[in-house]
């Protein structure tokens, strides 16, 4: 029994301080992204989420230049960009995608410049990989309280606005008639998405960050028709992918090439995809009428 366990969990896993930090920060990021991602997917804001992730590269790479944690950079730029996108959205609803694309392009260009300086002027050679693809085992433990605070803020926003967000996702007119302040609700939801994106950017990298928002939510949508349970399943799916990913990455130090270790982000994103595919294969018609979306494992009609 013990030998089976050590084959799965390589010795030293639970005793390693970087693993503790990774489990903690990764876990918070996964749960927050799972919960917030549910609303991002339901509201059809995935494109906005991807744009925020791309723009967070600018802040992340900038923060290396001035020597602060990339989390501050990720969060600073993505929340600011969320505000700008909201302003643009009000004045020119039709031009929103276009304007988002332009802001995104400009942000990434600035990010490219910062990354160049990161790797040439300062000696942080790993900066590019850390910012774009994350490296959970190198997260500084001092950043944990900030991770927790951002996570609480994002989940707090979504939990407080649960019903208004749900109703305005169904129909913005119905929400207005019911007395929902649709504009404020939408803007706050975008801030929650920006915070979730920055947490995921810290753990699995800015480029991959939306994988933790989209994948688990899309998986959970297949499993249940109850809105509150979707958030729960989404959070659990993200958490399982992250923690299993950390375990596999730790184990991979003993895989070829010897003593190199595979990137955690690869495992997390691969597991998210596997979970999604498993949910797609969920047997149809297990409960209720087939094709009507009753209960669990409903088929897409």
């Amino acid at each position: 029994m013990n030998r089976v366990l050590t084959a799965i969990v390589e010795p030293g896993f639970f005793g390693s301080a970087p693993v503790h930090v990774a489990l903690l920060a990764g876990g918070v990021a996964a749960v927050v992204s799972g919960v917030v991602g549910t609303f991002m997917v339901m509201r059809g804001q995935s494109y906005a989420g991807h744009a925020l992730a791309d723009i967070s590269v600018t802040g992340g790479s900038g923060s290396f230049l001035i020597g602060i944690s990339p989390l501050w950079g990720f969060a600073g730029t993505s929340v600011a960009a969320a505000g700008i996108m909201d302003l643009i959205g009000v004045r020119r609803p039709r031009g929103r995608d276009l304007a988002t694309g332009i802001v995104r392009g400009a942000g990434l260009g600035l990010g490219a410049l910062f990354l160049y300086w990161d790797t040439t002027h300062t000696s942080t050679t790993g900066a590019t990989v850390t910012i774009l693809f994350g490296s959970m085992f190198t997260i500084d433990s001092s950043v944990i309280p900030v991770v927790a605070a951002f996570g609480l803020a994002a989940v707090g926003i979504v939990a407080a606005l649960y019903r208004p967000l749900l109703l305005s996702s169904a129909s913005s007119d119905l929400a207005v008639v019911r007395g929902v302040r649709v504009r404020t609700t939408g803007a706050l939801c975008l801030v929650a998405i920006a915070l979730a994106v920055s947490l995921s950017a810290l753990t699995i990298g800015a480029v991959l960050s939306t994988a933790l928002l989209v994948g688990p939510a899309a998986t959970a949508l297949r499993l249940t028709a109850r809105p509150a349970l979707v958030m729960l399943w989404s959070a659990l799916t993200g958490l399982a992918a992250t923690w299993l990913g950390i375990l596999l990455a730790f184990d991979s130090y003993y895989w070829p090439p010897e003593r190199q270790g595979w990137p955690v982000s690869f495992f997390v994103v691969a597991l998210v995809l596997i979970f999604y595919l498993l949910a797609q294969a969920c047997p149809a018609g297990r409960a209720g009428k087939p094709g009507r979306g009753v209960g669990r494992c409903s088929p897409r009609s």
């Binding site: 019903r163 169904a170 019911r178």
Partner: protein, 278 residues
């Protein structure tokens, strides 16, 4: 602009009745174009009123003004007694959206409140009753995105009714329905208006399905309105005045046809020929 207090002869004693809705000289513009001109009518408690007009006559604009979604350029709208329940024509929902019929109905009760609702027996009972009242009890756990047009309509009616409004506003509820479900929905609405004393304002481009149940009519043409009992409004002189050219009203087997022209050209039933009418 505040003169016409007795302009609307509804049922009952005009002195004791407090209007559920007062539309008082409303003018509305969309992109600089005047879509509604000095529209005025009132609706009393429990009245079933049809808002009839061809496409482009301004029905949807008037609905949006009443709902407060569009501010009028002139005039005002007063709503009393518990506010408005609104039933949009159709909502576009992804089949994957995790929102069951019972969730949508529940959001009609407390969709504006903060926080995640805890499971509550009384809330569930209320939602079940409401779904039962619109004959939708059997689809309570089906995702809204999976419902047919008629089913979704009934769930949206339950969503609008659960907050006990004084007035139910329906935007072209018959437009996307086949004839059988059309009659079902009309009968259902008439029953609700009668049993729960809720006033109903229902927009439609065809008045015939509503004739048996309508107490009064608000007829819109080219942005102007005439209102009153159906047989007083749907007359050649009244509608000709409204349209600004000659119109005949023909009764055939209990149905009404509104026909433009004097028979010397191409006669077109106005209700079916939107662009020709405006």
């Amino acid at each position: 602009m505040m003169t016409e207090q007795r302009a609307a002869p509804g049922q009952g004693d005009p002195d004791s009745r407090e209007d559920v809705l007062t539309v008082d000289g409303v003018t509305a513009r969309l992109g600089g174009r005047e879509v509604l001109h000095d529209v005025r009518f009132t609706i009393g408690p429990g009245e079933f009123v049809g808002l009839i007009g061809s496409n482009g006559a301004g029905k949807t604009t008037l609905m949006r003004v009443i709902l407060g979604l569009l501010p009028p350029a002139a005039g005002q709208v007063r709503v009393s007694q518990g506010g408005i329940g609104y039933v949009p024509q159709k909502i576009q929902l992804d089949p994957d959206m995790p929102l069951r019929a019972r969730d949508l109905v529940g959001l009609g009760l407390d969709g504006h409140r903060l926080g995640i609702p805890l499971p509550s027996r009384s809330r569930r009972k209320l939602v079940d009753e409401m779904l039962g009242a619109v004959d939708a009890g059997h689809i309570a756990d089906v995702r809204v995105g999976h419902l047919s047009g008629g089913e979704q309509q009934r769930v949206l009616i339950a969503h609008a009714l659960i907050s006990r409004p004084g007035l139910l506003l329906l935007d072209e509820p018959l437009a996307s329905l086949d004839i059988a479900s059309e009659q079902e929905v009309v009968a259902l609405l008439a029953r609700i208006a009668r049993e729960q004393r809720i006033a109903v304002l229902i927009s439609a481009h065809e008045m015939n399905p509503l004739l048996p149940v309508m107490d009064r009519i608000v007829y819109l043409a080219a942005g102007r309105a005439a209102s009153g009992p159906t047989d007083e409004v749907v007359r050649g002189e009244v509608l000709s005045e409204l349209y600004g050219h000659h119109v005949d009203v023909i009764h055939v087997h209990g149905r009404v046809l509104v026909v433009a022209g004097r028979g010397d050209g191409l006669d077109i039933p106005i209700e079916r020929a939107a662009p020709a009418a405006s």
